[in-house]
């Protein structure tokens, strides 16, 4: 690999590294229980919890490592973890 001067990398390029493959459990959500406190977004170490007006809370499984923090911190107990099947 050729090093650029100062070993400069372009911003945000770790996005090519799909960490979803690390997962053994994955989060699911029961939307009817979500109170939109956004704890899940606040505390996800991998920025894998997303939100849109239309879809509500959803997960980016390309990057979710399955740590379970979002489920543990969910105020509405809307998020739960299930064994990943591949």
């Amino acid at each position: 690999m050729k090093l650029r001067i100062g070993a400069i990398a372009d911003p945000g390029t770790s996005i090519v590294n799909r960490t979803g493959g690390w997962r053994s459990e994955k989060p699911l959500i029961d939307h009817s229980l979500c109170i939109r406190c956004f704890n899940c977004i606040l505390y996800c170490p991998d920025s894998a919890v997303k939100y849109s007006e239309k879809e509500g809370i959803y997960f980016d499984y390309d990057f979710c490592k399955g740590c379970g923090i979002c489920a543990n911190e969910c105020s509405g107990r809307a998020i739960y973890m299930v064994m990943e099947e591949k």
Binding site: M1, L3, R4, A7, A9, D10, P11, G12, T13, S14, I15, V16, N17, R18, T19, W22, R23, R36, C37, F38, I41, L42, Y43, C44, P45, D46, S47, A48, K50, Y51, S52, E53, D60, D62, F63, K65, G66, C67, G68, I69, A71, N72, E73, M81
Partner: protein, 305 residues
């Protein structure tokens, strides 16, 4: 001073992007994401060698969407000082604030001298020490921030040892003694409080210092889902008091309606498990409780006396 508001929803800036290699459930990764969320884009960040640098910058990739530079293990404060002095000399200080985000080993052990110099020279830098209480990146060796009773690979619990014996260095007081105008403790378990303090530290002119407690599920040995809960327990037991020191005066202490016994924190982590198994462990737990009691006394943590 600025107040930070977390709108949540789809407004997040995501300046520390996905794809980083931190362990699942890493407290430091959460903290760094929140620091940048509060700091915004107009910052230049320096990190020394340690987990943060390793997980975020395997060349040619980087997880940073703000300018970021890796110093040596020992000199993040010196490199940050140079950047700040350079911006000043070029008349470009208004363009970016300088941030150093460094581990406990890099800060309290090998980088203590450079940090002291940075404070002394009065650079306009926000220095944040993320304290996961050991040298995690090289395999959980003890640092001067490893708490008493914790087992680390160089202070292992065993037949004749209960693990670490020395108290944690009081980093906040060291910063205050240098006359640093804004000093705070923070915890990844209190994300909004952390972001508010980051904003205040950045808006403060001159050096500011945040001592930030971040659980490391790998080194502390607890389930990855418990990172936030356990970080909060450190605060709720009085082992990690949250407070600010503005111009030498302690302000804004987080008070506790009902302080929990330290066992509630210790029993959640493998690094303390020997204290509950070994003969004589209760005595060490009593001493750890005494540390929490002294904190409560010093900072007035208990809402009801």
């Amino acid at each position: 001073m600025g107040v930070y508001r977390f709108e949540g929803g789809d407004t997040v800036k995501n300046l520390f992007v996905s794809g980083h290699r931190a362990c699942a459930g890493c407290g430091m990764a959460i903290a760094v994401k929140l620091i940048l969320e509060a700091a915004g884009e107009d910052v230049i960040v320096v990190s020394p060698t340690g987990c943060l640098e390793i997980v975020s910058s395997p060349y040619p990739e980087t997880s940073w969407r703000v300018p970021w530079i890796h110093s040596l293990f020992e000199n993040a404060a010196s490199v940050a000082s140079g950047i700040e002095a350079g911006l000043k000399a070029l008349g470009r200080k208004h363009e970016a604030k300088v941030l150093a985000i460094a581990g406990d080993g890099a800060t309290a052990d090998i980088g203590m001298g450079p940090l002291s110099g940075m404070f002394e020279r009065g650079h306009d830098i926000t220095y944040i020490c993320y304290d996961n209480e050991a040298y995690m990146n090289t395999g959980v060796q003890r640092s001067s921030m490893t708490p008493p009773g914790a087992s680390a690979t160089t202070s292992p619990a065993g037949k004749v040892s209960f693990g670490e014996i020395h108290p944690k260095k009081d980093l906040a007081s060291i910063a205050v003694a240098h006359g640093v105008g804004y000093v705070a403790t923070a915890s990844v378990g209190y994300g909004l409080d952390l972001m508010r303090k980051v904003r205040r530290a950045i808006d403060h002119d001159g050096p500011s210092f945040i001592h930030l407690h971040t659980s490391c599920c790998t080194g502390w040995r607890h389930p990855s889902s418990k990172t936030i809960e356990i970080s909060r327990l450190a605060v709720l037991t009085g082992l990690w008091p949250l407070y600010e020191v503005v111009d030498g005066e302690i302000t804004d202490v987080k008070r506790l309606p009902k302080r929990l016994p330290v066992e509630d924190y210790l029993k959640t982590q493998g690094r303390f498990s020997h204290l509950f198994r070994m003969e004589g462990g209760e005595e060490i737990i009593r001493r750890i409780q005494a540390i929490a009691d002294a904190n409560a006394e010093r900072f007035g943590l208990d809402l009801e006396g």
